[in-house]
């Protein structure tokens, strides 16, 4: 019997790069948290705590060192006594419960003294090329005092209370890549362990989670003395590190088209490879069934009070009922089982469900999928050079690839350009304003590629098809950034968000979700249309118990025994 050869293709950018879909992406085995822990476990990294010098009021510093085969990295953590009224997750805050830097190597006493003068100040301080990141975290008011009090009085905290929040501290910014004086990514990206994206930041958060556990225990001992008990290991493992992410991440997605392309393209390639698998063996389908069941538990624990997300979670729960029923009766012996399942999902499930399935089918295939992580970095350190010899006709064709849908939109109509992205004078916070209500248009950032492409396209139509774009650019420097982006599309077809990023109904949280899903975040909880909370490393082993057997599937909750 011959197997019919299906025409399995990669999903086109026009399907994948819509905000609705990007805002429904889920973590997968290529996510940066999972990539990090697989490496730390596989290469048998060793973890130590050379300093923990924190007093009974919770003030002091600690150092956590991760030592790999070739290099070491140390989280230097400063704990502060922050009055409640000063606690804010906004970028405009100027004090935090804890502040951190990831040091390149093992810091000596002079390094610590220097960092103590600067790290607690965050943006107002300076770090050096010996440091790779700068971050801070605030306690969860709901959980911190509760957990300290329970432990101090000899009780374990209630897991229902723990699960309502999920973390003891949440980070409010993790800066890397040369920010505030830190080492540029280009100086460290040739190190194998830091080549995949955001490994510095993920390592920093992984070690921060350990520090937070140690700190809450320390405070419980300080408060309860001999009465205090140690936090139960299984409860500790449920706790992640929260993260509040604001608008700064949305410009990142648009400002790094090649990097973002590499993430999306790698995941799409992985999906394509698995859809092309002719037959699934029992071991593979078992892994898939297991992760599907555990995802269902995870989704059941996902709560949000944001109306859009509440609807999406409800739809996803319904999707999981349909998908589970489908999988129960599904004949994995048929040819191209994963492709068939994806095709079924495209008609039966919401986009949340489709994307969850797309991530889940990757789980049984580390050999097909994991090597693609090496394609996710952007190895170009600076803006691309424009090819001035390209013809006007060819540039127009490139613009059409991503933005043909935008050319006929009325870009003067208020609903199509209601918003403008700008940077505030105050703490340089990226913001999204109302173009027709606030005096911000003069400060607009170039974060509306669709509108700019439409304008450039109409200007290009006035030029002969065969003339070189170099001449056009001499007359139209205002379209230069758009022409550069168009040419990048040739190498980075998934680099453009194919939606209107300044329309009256744009949801910036869609862009935040897309980026955070690649970090490996779960339980996205939008707090408005422009900021979002997530939990990182919940369920993960702590450094001292990390092993190859637990380094990867921790992201899925355990099935009840």
């Amino acid at each position: 019997m011959t197997t019919p050869q299906p025409h399995i293709t990669r999903r086109p950018p026009s399907e994948v790069m819509r905000l609705e879909r990007l805002g429904s992406l889920h973590q997968c085995r290529m996510s940066f948290m999972r990539t990090l822990l697989r490496r730390l476990a596989g290469d048998q990294w060793q973890f130590t705590r050379p300093h923990f010098d924190i007093d009974a009021t919770g003030v002091g510093y600690a150092v956590y060192t991760a030592a790999g085969p070739e290099r070491s990295y140390s989280l230097v953590a400063f704990a502060h006594d922050l009055p409640d009224e000063k606690r804010s997750d906004r970028v405009i805050a100027d004090a935090w419960d804890a502040t951190f830097t990831l040091f390149d190597g093992v810091p000596d006493s002079q390094d610590i003294a220097r960092l103590k003068q600067n790290v607690p100040l965050q943006e107002a301080g300076r770090i050096s090329e010996k440091e790779l990141s700068l971050s801070r975290a605030n306690r969860s008011v709901r959980l911190w005092d509760y957990v300290v009090s329970e432990l101090a009085s000899g009780q374990q905290p209630d897991t229902d209370v723990i699960d309502q929040v999920g973390y003891l501290m949440r980070t409010t910014a993790v800066y890397g890549s040369g920010k505030f004086g830190a080492a540029d990514r280009e100086t460290i990206s040739n190190r194998e362990e830091l080549f995949p994206p955001f490994q510095v930041e993920m390592l920093s958060v992984f070690l921060t989670r350990k520090f937070v556990l140690d700190l809450v225990q320390h405070m419980a001992w300080a408060k309860g003395g001999e009465t205090a008990v140690k936090l139960d290991r299984s409860i500790a493992q449920r706790l992640g590190i929260g993260n509040s992410t604001g608008l700064g991440m949305a410009p990142f997605v648009i400002n790094h088209p090649v990097l973002f392309n590499n993430w999306i393209k790698a995941r799409e390639e992985a999906i394509y490879r698995v859809r092309s698998v002719v037959s699934a063996v029992a071991d593979d389908t078992e892994i898939f069934r297991d992760r599907l069941k555990r995802s269902t538990i995870s989704v059941a624990r996902w709560t949000s009070k944001h109306p859009v997300q509440m609807r999406k979670i409800d739809a996803l729960k319904h999707d999981l009922v349909l998908l589970s029923a489908r999988v129960d009766e599904y004949d994995f012996q048929t040819a191209y089982p994963w492709d068939n399942l994806m095709n079924w999902a495209a008609h039966q499930l919401s986009i949340e469900g489709q994307e969850l399935l797309a991530s889940l089918i990757l789980e049984p295939y580390p050999d097909l999928v994991d090597p693609l992580v090496s394609c996710m970095a952007d190895t170009t350190s600076t803006v691309a050079r424009i090819d001035g010899s390209m013809t006007v006709g060819d540039v127009k064709t490139l613009l059409e690839k991503s933005f043909a849908w935008a050319f006929d939109l009325d870009w003067q109509a208020p609903q199509n350009c209601a918003r403008a992205w700008y940077v505030s004078e105050e703490k340089l916070e990226p913001r999204l304003g109302e173009r027709f209500e606030e005096p911000i248009a003069a400060y607009e950032q170039p974060l509306a590629p669709a509108r700019d492409a439409a304008h450039a396209f109409h200007a290009l139509k006035e030029w002969p098809e065969t003339s070189k774009v170099a001449a056009f650019l001499q007359s139209h420097p205002e379209h230069r950034h758009t022409i550069r982006r168009a040419q990048l599309c040739e190498v980075a077809p998934y680099g453009e968000v194919q939606d209107n990023t300044i329309s009256s109904d744009v949801l910036p949280i869609d862009m935040l979700r897309a980026k955070l899903s690649f970090f490996g975040a779960t339980h996205f909880d939008p707090r408005s249309d422009r900021w979002i909370r997530i939990c990182m490393f919940a369920g993960a082993p702590y450094p001292e118990s990390l092993s190859e057997s637990n380094s990867d599937d921790w992201i899925y909750p355990e099935l009840a025994q």
Binding site: G181, R385, G388, S424, E425, R431, G433, P477, R480, R484
Partner: protein, 208 residues
């Protein structure tokens, strides 16, 4: 104080935009400034000098005619000229290009490096009393670059053995850095209480 090269690039981009360059041209200015810093030349000093020259004293529209780059009036801006040169790299032949009057010619060198990388050949930027030769990553400069040059030649050269020095940090003059920051500041919208609350989407509690 040393700065990371990404800080240099980010600040230079905002500064150039603040000084009135288009976003795309501001990206070129930022890339050129970073490139000079990575070669141990204070690109920030060069850019801050260029941006400080009044826009009426400098011409950002360069045109190429019979191998000569010139403006309708006034000296050429080296960032605009450099970017146009790279756009026209396919037109550069053995005769080279003449340039009439340009300010801050040091900022042309990173663009010459782009042409060199693109063409696979070494490119020389020759002034009356200085010369700079670039090939891919290599750079050789024989004298301090002047604030402006009344004439210049850009040409393909056969010199290929060039020192390849690269720095991972920039050490810009503080005065130059302040000038860049002042220009960058022009890109920031003054905060209002409404934008503070609305623009970043607060409203729900962030302290729980």
């Amino acid at each position: 104080m040393t700065r990371s090269l990404s800080e240099v690039e980010a600040t230079a981009k905002k500064a150039a935009r603040g000084a009135g360059f288009s976003w795309g041209m501001a990206e070129e200015a930022a890339k050129a400034t970073r490139w000079l810093c990575a070669k141990g030349i204070d690109g920030c000093a060069e850019l801050s000098r260029l941006l400080s020259i009044g826009s009426h004293e400098i011409n950002r529209a360069a045109s190429l005619d019979a191998g000569v780059w010139q403006s309708a009036s006034g000296p050429l801006c080296s960032i605009s000229l450099g970017a146009s040169m790279v756009d026209h790299a396919h037109d550069l032949n053995a005769d080279g290009w003449q340039v009439k009057s340009v300010v801050c010619p040091a900022l042309l060198v990173p663009f010459a490096a782009d042409i060199a990388a693109k063409s696979g050949q070494s490119i020389a930027v020759l002034g009356p009393d200085f010369s700079a030769v670039v090939s891919g990553e290599g750079l050789s400069v024989n004298a301090p670059m002047p604030n402006s040059s009344a004439s210049l030649k850009v040409q393909i050269t056969h010199k290929t053995q060039l020192p390849n020095v690269s720095f991972t940090r920039a050490d810009p003059a503080e005065t130059a850095w302040s000038v860049m920051q002042n220009f960058a500041h022009r890109t920031y919208a003054p905060a209002t209480e409404a934008s503070r609350l609305k623009g970043a989407g607060a409203g729900t509690t962030d302290n729980d």
